[in-house]
Each structure stands twice: as structure tokens, then as C-alpha cells.
Symmetry: C2
Subunit: 192 residues, 2 copies
DNA sequence: GCTAGCATGTAAACGGTTACATGATTAG
DNA sequence: CTAATCATGTAACCGTTTACATGCTAGC
């Protein structure tokens, strides 16, 4: 997930690791803080895989400021990961939201829709904690007030998300039918 | 989080690892599946720490069925972790829900309230992705339809949870004022 | 001079994922 | 006899957390 967000942000524009970390903190640091011990090794892995490059700024400081650029290989990897997410990236709410944050980068509307549809399918099948050994569980039958709260909120959240997904899927289909141009992916010549 | 749920379920009653895994799957497997490679090492760690014991059933099978019992030390550890959760267990939605699933085990209403209050405090301060470099971000200003969806859903979810937390905190306070007895924690003599 | 923020990194320990390994029981 | 489910575990790999380490720059 960290890797995906790094590629996603660097696909927008080159930046320093420090600035990148701030964006990452805004996006996913809400839930768990982004640590340097995770970020810098992740950047090195991406660099070794050829997905990004860095250029030292000739300026002053002892830790030389490094500008990170995404490579073509990195852009391809980003699109691949957006178009073909793993199961956990669909089922885990936090991961799916990260996916959503960069889904506009996919140039193909049908690919975008496919991702949303996978999430909708997942949300449409009953969740584990909504049933006790197979049979559906009614909120009234739950004595524990905290577990009852869990169920109420989980149900409401799932319902809200399903509604949004259905609406958005409809809009995406209508738009394509009307022949509008997709927005979000880089136009040629936009970098540098 | 896995460790906490193991202690939580075993505090209810002794069971086999296999049955425990089913409960864990119902509770947290919704988001990410519970793997044996995570479960069995976790059980061994808890056993080494003295938080649980296992007894082989004299029956048949080649992999002898092991009944897992929580120890007094394990119960103490569970209460400690419920009463004094780490920051990430408050801020991460998934972790907080796991906490919630076992919060009734805390015998002290004020301790329960303190946990809910911490979550409420966290939800009441602005989230990272609701602001762009300090200034609040209006949903209208977001062009990207998927990021807009994220914001709408995140905001709705946070609002719903805040409402529930406030309501529940009020109820817990009223109850205590009226002198009702807390339910959920083990009554003396209840274990086998 | 000190503190806070900018800026980059490493190392040990920990825990989770994935794949492997074994074998019993039950239903078709 | 075969497949699914019950049942327990190990090992290699991978990524995250936590703590440590360094040094500049700006404001008080």
C-alpha cells in the first residue's frame, strides 16, 4: 500500500522524500503514522526495481536533498497495480481507499469501473460478523452494547459505500455513452 | 491486534486453535484473512509469555487436538491492553473495532468511557485528507471523482461514529448514575 | 544557545504472508 | 476412492515498527 501511494504521488510530480512523506501522512497517516524506517527502504526497493530515480540537488545540506522522479517502468507498475489489485486491496477498507485516491490515473474508464465493481461485489456479500455460524445475525439479538455499536456502524458504512459505488458506476457509464473524454491521466508533454 | 483478539476470545471460554481461528475470521477476517502462519506463532508467543496454556485431548488424531486455556496472567494482560490501548489502536478504524469487540470485559465503566472518549477526541480533530496544507478542504473543490467519493464517505462515517460515541457515552454515564450493574466481565466462579 | 522543523538514512526486532508439510474424519 | 473439512504446525521471505544517528536552517 505504501509502495502504491509512493508511485501515485510521484506520478503527479517529482518531489523530495520529505515532501512525499507529508503527502503520505495526509493520505494514510490518518490511520497509522508513516515512519522513515518504512519510507526510505520502500524508496530503495523501488529504485532497485527501476521504478524511480533520484537526483541530488547541488545545494548545501549535509544530507543532500534528493529529488525523486518516477520512471516509465514506475508508471507502468502503477497502472498495473491500479488495474489489477490484489484481493486484500479490495477487501480492506483502508487499502481500497488508497486505491481510490489514484484510480483516476487509469486511462481506461472500463478498468476504473471494474475496480469499483469488485469492491461492490465484495460489499454485497454478507460480512463475517453479521452472522453467527452461518445464520444472519439481527442487531436486536446482540446484548453487548459495544458489539452492537460495531454492527450498526459497519452496516451503515457498508450501505453508504454501496450507494456511492452504484451511483458512481452509473455516472461513469453514462459519461462514456455521451462520449466525454476521461480526465486525470497525464497528457503527453506534461512532465519536466 | 491478533494477540488481543486471541486473548479476548479465550477469555470467553477455552477452545481449540481451529475453532479460535473461525471466530477470528468472523471478527477480523472480513478485511484480511487470518493465516495459520500468523495464528500458531502468535499462540506460541502467548504461551511462552504465560498468558495461555494448552492441554492435549487424549483422543485420536495425529495432530493432537489442543485445548487452549487463558491464564490469570492472560486475563490481566487482556484488561491491561483494553484499558490502555496504544495510539494506533485508537486511530486505526479496524484496530479500534477489535478493541470495541472486547471492551465489555473491562469491569470498570469509567475505563470503558475513557477508551470511547479517546476515540471521540481523535475523530473530533480534523483528518489529514480533509485539509490541503493546513487549510480546510471543501468537497466542491475536489475535481477527482474518486477522491471526492473518499471524502464524502469518510466524512459521513466519521460523523456517524461520533454520534454513536456521544450517545453511548451519555448512556454509560446515565446508567452508572442510576446504579445499574455492569455486565460482560466474568462473574466469580464462572470459569471451568 | 536552544528548540523546532527540515532532511536523510540505518539496524534490530517483530510480526505477517505465502507456501509447504502432515494426517484424520466425513460425505458423496 | 476422492474431495472437503477438520486440525496443527514450520520455514523463508518480506515489510513495518522502533530506536538510533547525523546535520542544516530559522526563529526566539
Amino acid at each position: 500500500m505504501l509502495t502504491l501511494s509512493i508511485l501515485g504521488f510521484l506520478a503527479e510530480r517529482p518531489m523530495h522524500a520529505y515532501e512525499l512523506r507529508q503527502h503520505l501522512t495526509d493520505l494514510i497517516g490518518h490511520n497509522r503514522p508513516v515512519s522513515d524506517g518504512a519510507l526510505y527502504p520502500a524508496l530503495n526497493r523501488l529504485r532497485q526495481a527501476g521504478h524511480l530515480e533520484r537526483q541530488a540537488e547541488p545545494g548545501s545540506g549535509a544530507p543532500v536533498r534528493q529529488v525523486l522522479h518516477i520512471t516509465e517502468s514506475g508508471r507502468a507498475e502503477l497502472l498495473r497495480r491500479l488495474a489489477d489489485p490484489r484481493t486484500t486491496e479490495i477487501t480492506d477498507g483502508g487499502s481500497f481507499f488508497t486505491l481510490l485516491a489514484f484510480l483516476s490515473r487509469l486511462p481506461d474508464r472500463e478498468q476504473q469501473r471494474a475496480v469499483l465493481r469488485r469492491r461492490l461485489d465484495f460489499l454485497s456479500q454478507p460480512a463475517g460478523f453479521f452472522s453467527r455460524s452461518g445464520s444472519p445475525l439481527r442487531i436486536k439479538d446482540v446484548d453487548d452494547p459495544f458489539r452492537k455499536g460495531m454492527l450498526i456502524m459497519a452496516r451503515a458504512t457498508r450501505q453508504a459505500e454501496r450507494t456511492w459505488l452504484e451511483e458512481t458506476l452509473r455516472e461513469l457509464t453514462d459519461e462514456e455513452g455521451a462520449g466525454e473524454t476521461p480526465q486525470g491521466a497525464d497528457r503527453p508533454g506534461g512532465s519536466g
